[in-house]
Every structure is written in C-alpha cells, then in structure tokens.
Point group: none
Chain length 215, copies 4
C-alpha cells in the first residue's frame, strides 16, 4: 500500500489530547473492557452523516453502544446468499454473539441518501438510476416505504420519507430469523427514532399510535 | 411495525441531558450545518465494536467525520453488480458527493470479527464456515491478507492479522475507480490506522517502511 | 491526598445533564429541602449491589428515602461498645433524629455476599474464613439464620438464605432499644422485602403466614 | 418476626409503576445482569441523607454503580480485627472482587452527621459524646480532619469540615493494603467530590491545587 499517507496532523494532535485526558482518566476501565470483552447493552444503526453524533447524543462512553453506520441507516431484507452483506453481518453479530437488549434504528433530517432516492424516483438524478451506482442501488431499499406513501403520485416531504425509511428497516430486521426469535422471546426490543439535526429534536415511533412522537 | 417499543428510559434521560447542554451550547452551529449541509474533512471506516470510540478519540464534533462502521472495518473489492453494497455506497458518497480529503481505515485490537475469521480458517468455528453466516461471509474479505501472511501454515497473532486487514481494505479501496482517480489527482489521501483499545495506543501504516508505527 | 484524581469525564457529562434538566426543573424544592432539612418518610437498608436500584424501583425523588446500603443489607446486633458501627449509627440517626415512619430491609436475588457466606460455610471459600477478611466477618451476621435453616446439614438454596438474612436483620433491629420503643409505641413499622433482580419481582415478609409473598 | 408489617401502599403503588414501565422496557438487560453478574465501573461512597440522590445525579441505571451509603460518607481506618466493619467490607468487595476502576467519596452540604460532630466538639451535643452513641462514635472518624483545621480554636464552617471529611476518608482508604496496591498499579483511581444539595453544584478535589473546585 504505497499510496497510504501518515495521519494528518490535525487528527494526530486531537488523538494526543484524548490520550492525555480521557484515556488516561479511564485506562483501568478500558483495559478491563479489552481483557474481558465488550458487553454493550444496545446496538444502534445510524447514518454515516457527520452531523449525526450518536455517541454524544446518548452520552455513550466506550463499551456502551455497538454502532453500525451506513448510508441512510438502512437494513436490507434477509438474503442468505453467501454474498458480502455488511449490515446483515453487523446485526447478526450484535444479536447472536453479543446478545444486545435493544436494537435501535436512528434516522435523521436532511438525509442526503433519502433525498437522493427521492430525486432519483422523480427523474432528477439519473446518475443514481445507473446499475453501477452503489449509492443508487443501496437506497433502493427504501422503495417499499416510498410506494406505501403513494410514490411519485404523492407529495412526500423529506422528513416523512426519512421516517418511513426507519420503518422499512425495522420491518426488514424482522425478516431475519434470529432477530424475530429474539424479539418474540423478549430478549430483544426494536426501536425506531428520528432526530432533527438542526433543532436537536428526537422522535420515537409509537407503535400504539402508528406515528413518530417527540420524546 | 407493531413490535417497536419506546426508547428505554436510560437513553431518554441521556438525550435530555445532551439536549440541555451540548446541543444548547452549539445550536447555532448545528442549525447552520443542517441548513447549509455537511462538509466533513475526513471519512473514517471503523469497526462497530463498542470499545472503539472514534469520535472521542479524534475529538470530533458534529460535522467533522463521515463515519462508516461495520464488522472488522472492512472494504470489499469493487463489484458494480447492482446488488446492495453498503460499504461501497458509503465510500462512493464520501468521495464523489462530499469530496472528503482523507479516507481513514481504523483497525483495532481484540477484534471479534478478525478473531472469528482466524478461528474459522483453523477449523474451530464451523458455524462461520456456513454459507448462510453473514458474519462468516463478510469476514472472508480478509482472505487475501491471511494468505499473504502464510495462512494456516503460519503462526499468526491477532494483531498482525488485524493490521493486515487494514491493508486489504486500503488495497480494495484502490480498486474503486473514483477512489483511484481522487488519490492520483491528490484530492484524496488514504490512511491506515490500528488502535490498541486496552492501552490507548495508535499506530499508522508507514508506506515508506511498510510497517505500522506508533504515533 | 495527592492520589486523588479529577472525576472521570463520563460522570462529568452525566452530572451536567442532570444539572440542566432534573435539578433545574426542581431547584426550588431542592433548595427548600436544603434550607429546611430533610424529612424522609422511610429508611431503606439495601445491598451495595449495582443491580439493586432502590430509588428507581420506588420512584423516589430527593428527600424521600434515607438510604443505607451495605454488603448483603445486614444489620448487626445491638453492641454499644464505643467502636465504629456504621450501620447502627445509620439506624440510630434515622429512628431517633429523623423519626422515620418505616424501616425497610430490602434483600435481593444473586447476592454475592450471601453466596460468599454460604460458600464459606461449605468450605469452598477459605479466604472468607480468614479473620482478616472484612467481607468474611461482616457476613457472619447471617450465621443465626443459616443455623436455623439447618446449616451444612441442609440443602439450602440462595434465595432462601437471602430471605432468612432479611429476617435476621429485622430481628437484630429489634435488639436496639430505640427501635423497639418506636415500634412498640407505633411510631415506626418494620418491613422485610426481597427482590428478584432478573425478573423484577418483589416479595414482602408476611408476619401472619411467616412467609415471603409476592406483592 | 411477628412485628414486620406489609409494605406501605404508597411504595407498593410506585413499585408497580416501575415494574410496568422501566423494568418492562429493560427486562432483557436486567436479566442478563442477573445471569452474568454485575460489572460496575465505579464505587461511590455517599451519605444516607435522602437529599443526596446519587444515581439520579449521575444518570446511573442498574449495574453501573456499586453504592455504599453511610452516615457522613465516612471510611474508617484499616483495622482487621475480626469485628463487624460494614464499610471496610464494602470497599474490600468492590476493589478485590468486583475490581472497580473508580472509587469516589461524595460529601455534601448540610450534612447532619458532620454538623453533629462539630456541635459535639463544641460541647453543644452531650448526647453524641456518650460512649453508647452509635452516631457519636461513628463520626469520630472526622477527628483528624477537625484537628488539622485547627479544632475548637478555629472558626470552621460546615462546608469546610464536610470537605475535610472527604479527604479523611480518602486518606483512610489508602491505609487499606488492597486499595493502595490497586491505586499504585493504576487499576483504581480515587476521587473526592462535594455537592451543594440546594444549588446543585458539584466540586471535585484537585490534588494539584489542594482545593475543591467547581466542575
């Protein structure tokens, strides 16, 4: 890998700051976590978006949250075909090996992935319609949610589609036998969230009302 | 989704704490990030492991790091076949849409995914050898690195394999045309890191010496 | 005390969260409690075990419960010998100075202290038999209850011994003259509880049936 | 125990509220904690005072804090004499069995135990001077701190004595060989805190300046 470069200095400096403060204060605990293994209580699936700061929002320190982040916080349907499925692998590891108690899908406002999907459907993003577009194909996971909202015939705002995407991911999670089993035996609970990144709001999906509601 | 449950109270409390402090102090900046869009300087690909606290280690605030996390911080080879490729989609979005300047692969010690791969190769984890194992198939991305180290004939320690996995991911990144183009035109630099989660150490891959070295 | 260190940051962050939310909402009441003094209705004696969350279980806010927590929620017999007796001091303060109305001993399942006592009796924990073992000597308070259940000749399960320990503590409480006086003049009532920390169950000692019964 | 009474209904109702909400939401995690054992990161030694709400202040859920509470948050000196030493047993269990990473002594304003000690020293509380007073003898642990501040010759305010008491407890902790060993091998760190219960403030002892400072 002769193309690799040293870490840029702005990150080197921050790392040394962390090492001298937070790490130093907590090293005995971090060593135990390394020696004894992680036991995270929750898994969160969130977007890669740099404005969604999952660990800060939930005051999470090392060892607390098993965190998978992908474009638009999507979970594809169960498809045990032997191909590479990074999200499915993360869910499988969290549920079957780590036995997390909570599995949370966290959507957010101003999601570029969701917006891109919508633009593609409306014919405004032909590059995302290409079969070779990784982003374009990945966000197709949203299709059932879009259709349910009325598709191109409906006037759908971004937040509505972002929240519907959270529900699609939760539904897809239930297509994994090990998720369904854990939920049905009450070892695991699923949770759907959506955060407004500009206003700092957080809504949860209330299964009783069928709507997202402010916390 | 009648199986979804409200957010557990311990996370509700923490969210309210964040909202009243960190968010409140920074709301004007966070609103601008929401209105004007993210402009992250770096993308980091790290493991989902709860003990790898990427944002804490790099003192990252909202908007700074486009963060993809999957099992064992792996990047599969370029394969534009129209299937769901979550990691490839994240890389594509970061490089072509966000135009990040740095793309960092961050490996770590005590990685359950890397260890699982090793055990599978040695015949100690038959469940991971099943074609239906999502974790098993995902970590097969490590195979070229394992072979290069000598495979089952060699006595390979976990840290060595974890670091080799970082190199495999960096090599796979260069199989993506848009990554290669950005690197060659000096718009993007790649970086390989490995952190010892118990000791808080951080090593980077030095292309000149061909080895990982402490920062 | 040059060995003291600053508070670890994960607790600093949580404190700031509490300060900005719960404290802020209740500050006028908390100020009155500070100015006018506490007037708790109940004292609870529970175990130090991190899994026994007394205030959460009883929805207790500031000012409600005078809370003593020690290993295995034990009360030693009355022994006014001038030595340090932390538990006896706590009981004395609650009953004679604060004049609480209820004094509750709360036992729990999976109690490490009770289990350690049992193992020691069976010869499986020689370190706890040492005269210099603080834990070993402290849990000897359980001895009369163990003997009553049949001692080493009987097949005693942990929950039975945990509950018997609650009764021993209640009996020891009655050896304190100020407790006995308060109980006999109906200013104070004693209560024995046992909680199953895994199932969330709560049982109380029914003096009429002589058994612990589910609430 | 024919003097024991059923749990008062106000606590029964609250328990049922907790059982139907917080417990229900978290039962899978609480079951795991019960089955796999506690792994608390910190031990806190605080006062029994009902106005010091340790778990609320630190947003602690089940399993997080091993909590010992006694009058005036005192730790007596190391005295392995075979007598009952509840506080020493709690410290021994936390450090040697649970191997906590942080041991925190939390003092507070308006502490009745500290005030009682002061009044006794000034001759205003003869009942606390009696050899048979459990509270009186227990708070004598404060004596070295009081002497250091100048004793009866000095004009000492309550907060100063409360903070000095935290230092006495930290010093006494270092007389326990297993505490000293864990501190010296950097497996354990000690922390001194003092909270103003009326204003919600929190100060930590800064060993570099030798003073308590606001967080």
């Amino acid at each position: 890998m002769n193309t690799a470069r040293p870490l840029p200095s702005y990150l080197v400096q921050r790392y040394h700051g962390w090492s001298a403060t937070t790490f130093s204060e907590n090293k005995s605990w971090y060593r135990r976590l390394a020696d004894e293994g992680q036991r995270p209580r929750s898994m969160i699936i969130s977007c890669c978006d740099s404005r969604v700061h999952v660990t800060q929002m939930f005051g999470a320190d090392q060892g607390e949250i098993f965190l998978h982040r992908n474009i638009a916080n999507l979970v594809p349907p169960f498809a045990p075909d032997g191909d590479y499925h990074g999200t499915s692998a993360a869910v499988e590891y969290a549920v079957t090996a780590l036995k997390v108690s909570h599995l949370i899908v966290l959507g957010h406002s101003k999601c570029g992935g969701v917006k891109g999907f919508h633009e593609k459907c409306l014919g405004n993003a032909p590059e995302l319609a290409e079969n070779t577009s990784f982003v374009g194909r990945w966000i197709d996971i949203l299709q059932p949610g879009y259709d349910r909202l009325g598709g191109n015939d409906a006037d759908i705002d971004d937040a509505t589609l972002e929240k519907e995407g959270v529900l699609v991911s939760l539904e897809n999670l239930m297509t994994f036998p090990f998720v369904r089993d854990a939920v049905e035996s009450e070892k695991l609970s699923l949770h759907g969230l959506w955060t407004d990144i500009g206003e700092g709001g957080l809504e949860f999906f209330n299964a009783e009302t069928g709507a997202f509601e402010a916390l």
